[in-house]
Amino acid sequence: MKFTKINIAVSLVVCSLFAHNTYSKMVEFTEDAYSMQAPQEIVDIAEKAAEFFECKDAYEVVVPKKAGILINPWNKFIGTGINPQTKNHFIVINPEWFLSIPEKQQLFLLGRNFLAIKHGTTPLSMKIIPFLFILFTGCFVLFIVWILGKTRLAEYKPWVKGLIAFCIMTTCNIAFMNGLQSKFLLHVAKNHDKAINEMIIQKTGDKDSAIKALEFFDSSIKSELNNGESFWAPYAMLFENYAHELKK
């Protein structure tokens, strides 16, 4: 009996050790033309955050080089992506920008990236939308063919009606469907971002730091915009809106 109890206890300890091992694991990044391995100071902060947010995937922490910032301006602040070589997620952190903010705000910003890694950078609904639009296009083409069958073009051969329907649909797609699709995608992405912000606040219980971090991000983006970086134009109000909604 005693032996069984000990056995169970040992098994539990071993299981907990395994469970601990399945938690986040920082992987060394091999330097390339765009980025390099982050210094230990930043790695430590990232590891703490990964543990706090229970991120179980392997990840790399990198610091951008000039080429990295040019190729993706988000790397000037903080961003995430997938390393095509190792297939690991990576977090790009610009030390100059990142270390200039208080620890609690750093945790919030890292949380955004770790939760994006955990729950997927693009939500399922965002992946489905393009397919829905393709399906809608197909249905609409069939609908146009059916409508054409009710007009004076009814006696035309099916391929002519099909071609006319295809041309109408292509024009519609170019004229407004593509724009509509982008707006849908943007809307879903914003909702995903908002949900992540809420989850972090639930976990940290610190709303003020979250708002301050978002406002700091917003001010950094606006200063880039003022310097003539047109890349940031679509994101001019993004973080301000997030902060405003959290204040509510």
């Binding site: 033309a33 080429a67 040019l70 993706n72 070589q85 004076r152 009814a154 006696e155 391929w159 890349f231």
Partner: protein, 278 residues
């Protein structure tokens, strides 16, 4: 429901005079306003291309340097030179350049002025030899108008394939029925697979053509400018710094460029031949 029973042929026959008149009038308007239309198309091409790939002009001395190489190769046509934006950098890499012919709706060629886009890394990091090779390579694309009509040809080919399948599908199905199976579901699956297979032909042909023009551009640039060292250095840089694979996957069939290994080998071969000639 009452419908007017007409076919496309009878419509064209009964309305042929009005169609001819319409065609003549539209052609006349286009001919009369050709300069204005051409200017508008040029402006459209400039605006759209700059929005897509970058609008920042280069410093005058950098433009002069590029134009000198172009003149050396006997290219005197006007070229719009711009710096790549973030989007283009993501596609083409930090140390690269590319030639572009503006199109309307991605396949109708507009404007006679081609574009040359260069990256920040091209200007800052590449040695003059590497720059010379890459500019020479892109100038050949511009001179020979390699990709100007490519998309148009692909779309026409795809259209022809789809139409052929539509008109010949009954014959295909009969052939399948005769030689393979009489099962209707299988016939449908095989016929549809044939359509999908045939639809892949333009894309694969375009990739093969792209690999061919890259070889042509490499060959002409190397023989005209003798930039062998620049070529080797640049390809090695791409392999090391940008982790470009030495060999392409799937026997290179799905790649739009020959592999670095193949390009280096060809460059060395040309270099040896030129040494032998001397």
């Amino acid at each position: 429901m009452n419908t007017i029973r007409i076919s496309l042929a009878s419509f064209l026959y009964t309305h042929k005079l009005s169609l001819v008149l319409g065609f003549v009038i539209i052609s006349g308007i286009i001919a009369y306003n050709r300069n204005y239309l051409s200017q508008q198309l040029d402006l459209y091409a400039l605006k759209e291309t700059e929005q897509e790939f970058g609008a920042t002009p280069l410093a005058p001395e950098q433009i002069e340097k590029i134009k000198l190489i172009a003149q050396e190769m006997g290219i005197i046509e006007p070229i719009t030179i711009r710096k790549m934006n973030h989007k283009a950098l993501r596609t083409f890499g930090y140390c690269n350049a590319f030639a572009y012919f503006p199109t309307l709706l991605t396949f109708i060629p507009v404007s006679n002025t081609p574009f040359l886009f260069v990256s920040e890394g091209f200007l800052e990091d590449l040695s003059p030899e590497e720059q010379r090779f890459i500019i020479g390579h892109e100038m050949i694309h511009i001179k020979e108008q390699h990709t100007r009509f490519l998309n148009l040809v692909i779309y026409v080919l795809l259209f022809v394939i789809l139409m052929s399948w539509y008109f010949l599908r009954n014959n295909f199905e009969l052939l399948i029925q005769y030689y393979i199976t009489k099962n209707h579901t299988l016939i449908f699956i095989l016929s549809t697979s044939l359509l999908f297979g045939a639809s892949c032909i333009p894309a694969l042909a375009s990739l093969a053509y792209r690999r061919h023009i890259e070889r042509v551009a490499d060959h002409n640039s190397l023989t005209l400018l003798k930039s062998y060292d620049g070529c080797i250095k640049l390809l090695e840089r791409w392999e090391k710094e940008f982790k470009l694979p030495a060999h392409n996957s799937y026997f290179g069939l799905t790649s739009d460029h020959p592999s670095c290994f193949e390009r280096k080998l060809y460059c060395l071969k040309l270099q040896n031949e030129s040494k032998d000639n001397i």
